[in-house]
Structure formats: structure tokens, C-alpha cells
């Protein structure tokens, strides 16, 4: 089975522990307003009639074996640093069949595997997809289902279910909360989120990812509508305020 990948990043140091190689799988069922990788949304490789990041195509087809060869090159760095490989996207679960095949293959050679996911998939698919995964970086965007629908295009029900499954399996999970001004940084959402997470003894740390306008240019280049026009990046004070609120529930907060 082959996959469509749109990037492989070596020396990734913020996608899980240690020095990692991140594999970006193409395609995402969500359409978050603040998405940093709008080029990754569409499934399948794409030809462009303009230059994007020095190339006229988005994504290429590759096999799990080829990917393994690419990431094996950095094995010494993983072993020195306690790193490994991270599957990210897009939404890797969208290519679940491939993900299962690749993770089984990678696990057989003792690589530490991280999945960076929105958590959006049917529970059947999700449970199979995470079986070889050591650590899940799990995005939790907002608790209100209607709002979630509005800003991401999908319901958060399956997402929460899948998170609960991970916890029940004692999988290591790092919650990632993208802090988007005016969308999910209100007191209500923060309270709901923290109270919800308190149920899970194993979740102690939350990564707070303040919104960046870094993708604005990409929307422009790709001719996509940018719904975030006019929304500014949160300043330090605002980020600190949210951090304090989350910390007041006893969570450890890491920014970035």
C-alpha cells in the first residue's frame, strides 16, 4: 500500500521527544480556520500551475519501505536523543491503512513512534491505527460541539471518544491546545476543557500552541480564502493568562 506524503522533515525537535523525523501525510477531513498547512488538506498528489515552496507539485506517492529507508538514516540521532519518527499531516488517520502498515514495519525495527493527530476518525479505524504508536500528540480544539463544527467542519464527538479510548489503554498522550483568539480562548471553553481532562489521571501536561499568522502567505499563494483575516496573534499577556487558567486546574503547561 502506498501513501501520499507532502513532506519529510528531519531534525524535528518539537514533535515528540528527542530528535525526530516527521512524516507529513497528505489529506485532512477537517478544515480548521487557523490551519497552518492548508496545502495538505486535499487528498492525493496535486499539480500546480504556479511555484509553491520551490515546486510545482504538492505531495508524492511513496511506500512504507521507502519511508523507512529515509528515516533509518537518522537512527543514530534518535538513539542518542530518545527520539524517533512522528506521523503528522494533514491528518494521518485519513490514510489509516497505510499508517497501520508503516507503523508495524517501523515498530519491528524498534523505532519510537509518535502520532500527531486531530483524533478525528471512526473508533474502529482509530483503535487499529494507534496499536503500534508509543505517544499520541492529541489536538483538543474546543469542547462545544456546535462551535467545533463551525470552526473545523466536523463534530468533536468521535474525537473525544478516541481520546477516552487512548486513556483507557494507558497510552501516553500529550494534549495540544491551539489557542485561537476569539474562537477557543474564552473562559467557558477553557473551564470545560480542563474539567473534562481532569477525569483522566494520566493526562498531566498540556501543550499550549498560541495562534501564529505564519500560514497567511500560503493561503494567499494557493488562492484559498483565509477566514482568519483580521485576527491577530495573541500577545504574551494573553497567552500567560490562558496558561494561568489551565495551570489552576493542576495541569503542567508547556508553551509551544
Amino acid at each position: 500500500m502506498n501513501a501520499i506524503v507532502f513532506d519529510i522533515k528531519h531534525f524535528a525537535i518539537h514533535d515528540g521527544p528527542g530528535i525526530r523525523s516527521s512524516i507529513f501525510l497528505k489529506g485532512c477531513p477537517l478544515s480548521c480556520w487557523w490551519c497552518h498547512n492548508p496545502e495538505s488538506r486535499a487528498k492525493g498528489a496535486q499539480k500546480l500551475d504556479f511555484d509553491f515552496k520551490g515546486s510545482r507539485s504538492l505531495g508524492w506517492e511513496t511506500s512504507a519501505e521507502e519511508l523507512l529507508e529515509a528515516v533509518e538514516k537518522d537512527r543514530m540521532f534518535y538513539e542518542e536523543s530518545g527520539g524517533g519518527v512522528t506521523f503528522t499531516g494533514g491528518e494521518p488517520l485519513l490514510q489509516a491503512g497505510f499508517l497501520i502498515e508503516a507503523t508495524r514495519l517501523f515498530k519491528a525495527v524498534d523505532l519510537h513512534l509518535t502520532l500527531d493527530t486531530t483524533g478525528y476518525a471512526s473508533s474502529k479505524v482509530f483503535q487499529k491505527a494507534v496499536q503500534w504508536i508509543d505517544l499520541v500528540l492529541f489536538d483538543l480544539k474546543m469542547m462545544d460541539e456546535q462551535k467545533h463544527f463551525k470552526y473545523t467542519g466536523v463534530s468533536n464527538k468521535p474525537i473525544l471518544e478516541n481520546l477516552e479510548y487512548l486513556v483507557s489503554q494507558n497510552k501516553e498522550v500529550h494534549i495540544r491546545f491551539p489557542m485561537i483568539p476569539g474562537i477557543n480562548d474564552d473562559q467557558e471553553n477553557l473551564t470545560n476543557m480542563c474539567e473534562y481532562l481532569l477525569k483522566f489521571q494520566t493526562i498531566q501536561r498540556i501543550h499550549l500552541l498560541p495562534y501564529h499568522k505564519i500560514a497567511a502567505g500560503k493561503y494567499h499563494q494557493l488562492g484559498f480564502e483565509n477566514k482568519m483575516d483580521g485576527i491577530d496573534e495573541p500577545n504574551d499577556a494573553k497567552v500567560q493568562k490562558v496558561k494561568t487558567i489551565i495551570e489552576s486546574y493542576g495541569f503542567q503547561v508547556v508553551i509551544g
Binding site: F11, K73, K218
Partner: protein, 761 residues
């Protein structure tokens, strides 16, 4: 110097005695400078930031002086009076007599042609061999003790059997005179200090002056008894070495944390000095190095090493003589001082052994991130193996380190001389043109065949190897001639006193007196030649996209109207720096050829030739003498530097660069230089520091010799935005992740430029 050489006293002296007495004359007569509030004293020139010239080595012409005065970079002000003295006194006497004139008068014409064409440079044509580092002798012996040792050797000379008895006697006598010279120099400082003491209104400064008088009355005659004396003693010795001749890489205390820590601990225990006072003394010591620009260079030498830096490289960390972890309190204190001082000189480095704690390297990285390129980071375990491979004793190896840029040496026991850069890529250009150089319009090398008739990549490689052997031979021939001339005409008796075993051998440092004698030839352009060979292999011999005739025509036209093909070359050639064996195997072959041509061949001093891979600024000069290269590099542009990939050739991030670089067999070199660029944001948090530390540890596990991190400034980023092609390798931290700068959108590039400006100091 000139006065002495012309005096009655100089007549009839042996060469070593002539040199020693001239040195004595200089130390007895040169201006004594003691600055307000200085704690460590002694200047090379009449005042800080001034430098003498060394007419006996290289007499500058009036034209040189004009250039040195007026050039936009690395200039020295030359007064009218100086010019008058040169014209009326110095030039008439030294012209034709200086070491430089002597050397050029005996070198063979083919050597001069290759030199003029930029195939290699020559370090010893206007500066003296030096490149060495002091061991621990001065912390255990005063001049008195050393004189005893010399006298014993004089008494032991065997006038019956030893054919060199008289040479030894003269050399040892010269050593005694040279020690006296520096004693006089110290006494003159005491005298001046006492004068200042008389006039000093400020009580606190009077106390300092009293202490300084006591220090300089005690050392250098006696071994240092405290921290201050240790520093001041070193500094007098430093003055002696750099006044006696103008040695490359000035001089250097080497493993400073090892040498000073006992004095530091003793002072704390006996409460002689507080930690704060010792920190201030170290700062004063740092300023002294920074006061000393390297003496003015001219001609090719100025181009290969175009800098004021005089390459004193302080070593921290590493291993002790017994093989245990050498990091101590002084290592950390010195890192503090380096961070606080933020000055160009002295350079600093940390030696990192697998036995050193992570805390040490992380502290060093925190200094690196402040952004002035220091300290650089070296692999102690590799250095030791390199030295062992060269036949050194393990204790001498552990007491060694790196000096200059990255050169491996056994401190205090080895004369290791850089003899010149060697232009690997130029030799390829010559191989493509049947040994003919179009720039100087001369047949420089052997006729290895018309490249148009090469039927395989192997034929091309064979031609290049034949040219390599020829030019390396030529370089070595020149080196041996020049080394002989230094041994014969320019001994350095004072330096010889401090490098074992010059005294025991009764032989000069410049004549092979040291325990170990190594001469290095430094290869330049490894990335450029690899990528160029790779391009020819791929596009001419494998894909046959272009035949050799057309390819050579394109090179000759500097890719005129062939920008599209040039872009194709840049984007579709396997290149060094991407962990791609198609390119890296070629690199290995280049390395092997260079290594086999040089390594182990005997030098004129009884030592061996070795290789290392470092450029200083020669990759710019060497690039300027080469036309367009098959890798797509345009005529005259710089070559790749050290073992770093060609600028922009590496596109897979730092791990791939390190993997490629680790395919070099570092342990068979005497040093390699790898540069990595980053924006300050990469090291902004603990995660960044931790992972960069792991990156280094991994490289060193693979026997990498050295890595340095250059902080990218906003100015560089602006340049990268304008010329993306030359900055393909530039990685920046965006937000929680890193990306290639040139691939970011305009807006984001601007944003990062602003952010970088913000975090600059």
C-alpha cells in the same frame, strides 16, 4: 631590529646567537606600555591595537604599506613617519635580505607558477612557523629552573662524538640569552610600575600597583605562587614568543582551565583572592589578547587569512593526563568570562569527551546562542585518536587539543606547522584542461589528456589523481626548501625553551627540536570538487544529458545564456551534505586521494606531513582563481569551506549534513571544520539546547572532529531573501518547527527577519 643587525655587536655571531641577541636588544629597548587600570601588563606594539612589522621576515614595500593603510578591510594605519623610516632605513637594508626574499629567490619556477595560479598558498613566506600551544611547564618552573636545565645540557655536550656539538652549544646559549631578554622585559615593567606608583594619587590603584610590582618581581624568574602570577607569567612568555618572530596563530596557553584551576582553588582556600577578583583578572587577561591584532599580512597571505584575528584558541574541558574528565570549576568560570567579554580575541573552544558531563556542553551552547560564534566545539576523543594515529604517546595526546582554527596538536610537545592551503577544485579545473591554466595562460601541470576524449568517469578521476600527485609533490618540495630555510636562518630560541624536547635535544623549534614534528597541508573545496565530479559523472557519463565538449564550452562561457541548465545542475545533481552515497562516495575518493598523496611523507625537519581540512578565508581566494565549475558554481565565486557542504547544496537538514561529514575518516586527519548556521531562536529554549547537544554528541560518536554554530543575523536573512539560491541550507525556527528560510513566503520571511532583529544583541 635593524639597528641591532647593523651594529658592531651583531658581527661574527652564530645564527641562533644573532637571533637571540637581536631579540634581547628588542626586549631591552621596545616601548613599555602600562595602561590605566591594567592588571595584566605587556604589549606587542608600543600601545594596544598596534603591531610592529618584522622586517627580517618580510620587508613591506612602500606599495604594501599603502595598501595595508588604505584597504577597506583589515587595514592598519601607517603614519608618514613610518613610511619615511621604511624608505630611508628599513627597505635599503632588508630588501633582498629578508626571509621572504630569500625564500622566493630559491623556489623553483614551476612552484611559483602554481602559487601564482592559486593551486596552493604558502604560510611560511611572510610569517614564521608557530602554530603551537604551551603546555604546563611555566606553572611548574621559573626561568631560574629552566636555565638550570639548559646549563645541564650545555655541560653534557659530547665534543668527542657529537658532530653537531657546536650547533647544540650555540642553540642552548641562544636559549639562555632569550630567557634573559624576557627577564629584562619584566624588570623594565617593574621599573615603570614603580614610577607610576610614585605618581599615583588613588590609594586603591596604588595597592594594585604594589601587587603588580610584587608579581613581576617574582615571576618569570620563579615559578608562579598564585593566580595573578600565573596569568602574568604566561603573558610575559606570550610577549616573548610573538616578539621574537611573527609566528602564525600568535601563541596560546591552551588548556587554561587545567592550568589555572589549582591556583584558583588554592586562592579560594587561602583567601588570597576572591572568586570575583579572579574573574576580573581573567577579564583583564582577555583584553590583552584582544589588544593584539595579527601582524599585517600582504599578497596572497592576506587573502587566505584576511582577518585581524591571530588565532589564539583557549581550550576548555576534555580529559586529564590520566584519562579522566577534566571539566572543573574553572571551565565554567571561563565560560562566564567568554560570555561576558564577547570579544573577538582570544577565540575559545570547548573540548567535549564522552566522559564530560552534559551540563558542560549545555552551558557552552548557552554562550554560543548569544551569537558571536564562540565557543566552537571539539571532540576530545577524536583528537586523542588522531594524535595516537600520528604516533604520539597517550599522555601527550590527552594533554593536547586544537589550536588555530581546528588543528590537532600535542600541547607543549609538538611543532605542528600549517604550510598552506591546497586548492582541490583548482586541480580539477586543470585536469579538465589538460593541465593548462587559462587564467595565467600557462601549462601548469602534466598533460593528462584532453577531457573531450575521456570515455568514462574513471578516466577523468585518473587524470585528476595524476594532477593531484604532481601538485602535492610540488607543494611538498617547496615546503621542504622553505622549512630548511627557517631552520637555517630563523631559529626561535625563546619559543624553543617552552616546547619539549628542544632543550634536551639542543635543537631549535624550527629545526626539528620538538618531541613531535608535523607539517600540515590543508585541503580546501571538498564540497565543491565532490559536487563537480558528481555532476560530470551524472550528467555526462551516466545520463549523457550533455557531452563533455558542450559541458566544457558552458564552463568556459560561465554558463552564459545557459541559466536553465545551470539551475538543472543545481537541482538535479547528487550533492555532498545530503547523506546521499552517490555524492558521498565521490567525496571519500577525493579524501583518499588527498590523504594518500600527503600523509606520512617525511618533512625536512624529520617529521611527517599530514592533512587537515579547513579554510580560514582561503575558500574565497581559491574561488576567485577558478572559472565556472560543473556543479553550477559561477566563475570567481567562493568554494565550499572546510568540510561544510557547498553553500546551499545541502537540503535535508543538519542530520544529513552531519551524516555526510561523518563519512570522512576524521581520525586520519589533523582536524576538519564543519560550520552550521542557525537563528538564535533554535537555542531559545531548553528543548533546543538539549537537542542540539544530542546532535553534537551523535556527530562525535561518529568521530566528527569539530562543529561550530554560526548565529544567523537579520542581515544574512535579508540577503537570503534576495539571493535564495546561495542560502538553500538556511534553516530557521518558525513556530514550534523549523523550515528552510527560502521556502517561506515573503510575509513570513519578513516576520522572521523582524524577530531575529529583535533577539539580536
Amino acid at each position: 631590529m635593524t639597528e641591532f643587525y647593523q651594529s658592531q655587536e651583531a658581527k661574527g655571531l652564530s645564527v641562533p646567537m644573532l637571533r637571540a641577541k637581536a631579540f634581547h636588544y628588542l626586549m631591552s629597548n621596545k616601548t613599555i606600555y602600562i595602561g590605566d587600570d591594567e592588571l595584566i601588563i605587556g604589549e606587542r606594539g608600543p600601545a594596544p591595537q598596534q603591531t610592529p612589522t618584522y622586517p627580517e621576515v618580510c620587508i613591506h614595500s612602500l606599495d604594501d604599506l599603502k595598501k595595508i593603510d588604505e584597504r577597506p578591510k583589515v587595514s592598519f594605519k601607517v603614519s608618514k613617519e613610518t613610511k619615511r623610516v621604511f624608505k630611508e632605513k628599513l627597505i635599503p637594508y632588508w630588501d633582498g635580505r629578508s626571509q621572504r626574499d630569500r625564500i622566493f629567490s630559491v623556489l623553483p619556477q614551476e612552484w611559483k607558477d602554481a602559487y601564482a595560479a592559486g593551486v596552493f598558498t604558502e604560510f611560511l613566506e611572510q610569517r614564521a612557523p608557530g602554530h603551537t600551544v604551551l603546555g604546563d611547564v611555566i606553572y611548574h618552573e621559573g626561568f631560574k629552573d629552566i636555565r638550570c636545565r639548559i646549563q645541564k645540557e650545555i655541560d653534557a655536550i659530547d665534543y668527542f662524538k657529537d658532530r653537531k656539538a657546536m650547533d647544540r652549544l650555540e642553540e642552548l646559549k641562544a636559549m639562555l640569552v632569550s630567557l634573559d631578554a624576557v627577564s629584562v622585559f619584566a624588570k623594565r615593567h617593574v621599573h615603570k610600575l614603580k614610577q607610576y606608583r610614585e605618581q599615583e594619587p588613588n590609594e586603591q590603584r596604588r595597592q594594585e600597583l604594589d601587587k603588580m610590582i610584587r608579581v613581576s618581581e617574582h615571576i618569570p624568574e620563579n615559578k608562579p605562587s598564585d593566580f595573578w602570577e600565573a596569568l602574568q607569567y604566561y603573558w610575559y612568555v606570550h610577549q616573548g614568543v610573538i616578539t621574537e618572530l611573527n609566528p602564525w596563530d600568535s601563541f596560546n596557553p591552551g588548556r587554561l582551565d587545567q592550568h589555572l584551576n589549582p591556583f584558583y582553588q588554592k586562592a579560594l582556600q587561602s583567601q588570597t583572592y576572591s572568586a570575583e577578583e579572579m574573574r576580573e583578572l581573567l577579564q583583564a587577561f582577555w583584553v590583552k589578547f584582544n589588544n593584539h591584532p595579527s601582524p599585517p599580512k600582504t599578497g596572497v597571505t592576506a587573502q587566505e587569512s584576511n582577518t585581524f584575528t591571530d588565532f589564539a584558541l583557549i581550550n576548555l574541558g576534555g580529559l586529564k593526563a590520566d584519562g579522566s574528565d577534566a571539566v572543573n570549576e574553572m571551565s565554567y568560570l571561563l565560560l562566564d568570562v567568554i560570555e561576558e567579554m564577547r570579544i573577538l580575541q582570544p577565540s575559545s573552544m570547548v573540548q567535549l569527551s564522552k566522559k564530560n558531563p552534559d551540563r558542560f556542553i549545555k552551558r557552552a551552547l548557552k554562550v554560543v546562542k548569544t551569537g558571536f560564534g564562540q565557543p566552537s566545539i571539539f571532540n576530545t576523543d577524536a583528537i586523542i585518536q588522531e594524535l595516537l594515529n600520528q604516533g604520539k604517546d597517550i599522555v601527550d595526546a590527552r594533554n593536547g587539543g586544537a589550536s588555530g582554527c581546528v588543528e590537532t596538536g600535542a600541547f607543549g610537545t609538538e611543532a605542528y606547522i600549517l604550510t598552506g592551503y591546497f586548492n582541490l577544485a583548482k586541480v580539477l579545473e586543470l585536469s579538465l584542461n589538460n593541465g593548462y591554466d587559462f587564467r595565467t595562460e600557462k601549462q601548469l601541470g602534466p598533460k593528462t589528456g584532453d577531457a573531450k576524449n575521456f570515455n568514462s568517469f574513471d578516466e577523468l578521476l585518473r587524470a585528476w589523481k595524476t594532477q593531484m600527485d604532481y601538485f602535492i609533490n610540488l607543494k611538498i618540495k617547496g615546503n621542504n626548501i622553505i622549512e630548511n630555510m627557517w631552520a637555517k636562518y630563523m631559529p626561535a630560541p625563546f619559543l624553543s625553551v617552552f616546547i619539549a624536547d628542544c632543550i634536551a635535544n639542543g635543537m631549535d623549534y624550527n629545526a626539528g627540536g620538538a618531541r613531535y614534528n608535523t607539517s600540515y597541508i590543508q585541503g580546501v573545496g571538498l564540497g565543491s570538487i565532490t559536487d563537480s565530479l558528481s555532476a560530470l559523472k551524472q550528467h555526462v557519463f551516466e545520463d549523457q544529458k550533455l557531452n563533455m565538449i558542450d559541458f566544457l564550452a558552458l564552463l568556459k562561457s560561465d554558463f552564459e545564456e545557459a541559466e536553465e541548465f545551470r539551475t538543472y545542475l543545481l537541482n538535479n545533481t547528487p550533492k555532498y551534505g545530503n547523506d546521499d552515497d552517490r555524492a558521498d562516495d565521490i567525496m571519500r575518493e577525493v579524501f583518499e586521494t588527498f590523504y594518500q598523496a600527503v600523509n606520512g611523507r617525511p618533512t625536512a625537519k624529520g617529521g611527517h606531513f599530514r592533512i587537515n581540512l579547513l579554510p580560514t578565508t582561503s575558500h574565497v581566494y581559491f574561488g576567485s582563481v577558478i572559472g565556472a565549475l560543473p556543479d553550477g558554481r559561477k566563475a570567481g565565486k567562493p568554494l565550499s569551506e572546510g568540510i561544510s557542504p557547498f553553500q546551499g547544496a545541502d537540503r535535508k537538514g543538519p542530520t544529513a549534513v552531519i551524516k555526510s561529514a561523518a563519512k570522512i575518516d576524521h581520525l586520519r586527519t589533523g582536524g576538519t571544520l564543519l560550520n552550521q548556521k542557525f537563528t538564535p531562536a533554535l537555542l531559545a529554549d531548553e528543548v533546543g539546547i538539549e537537542q542540539v547537544k544530542n546532535l553534537i554528541r551523535t556527530y562525535f560518536k561518529m568521530d566528527g572532529h569539530h562543529i561550530q554554530f554560526n548565529v544567523v543575523t537579520a542581515e544574512t536573512l535579508r540577503k537570503a531573501k534576495k539571493e535564495p539560491e546561495a542560502h538553500r541550507d538556511l534553516i530557521v525556527r518558525v513556530a514550534g518547527y523549523s523550515d528552510y528560510f527560502i521556502e517561506l513566503t515573503d510575509e513570513l520571511q519578513d516576520e522572521i527577519i523582524r524577530r531575529t532583529e529583535h533577539s539580536e544583541f
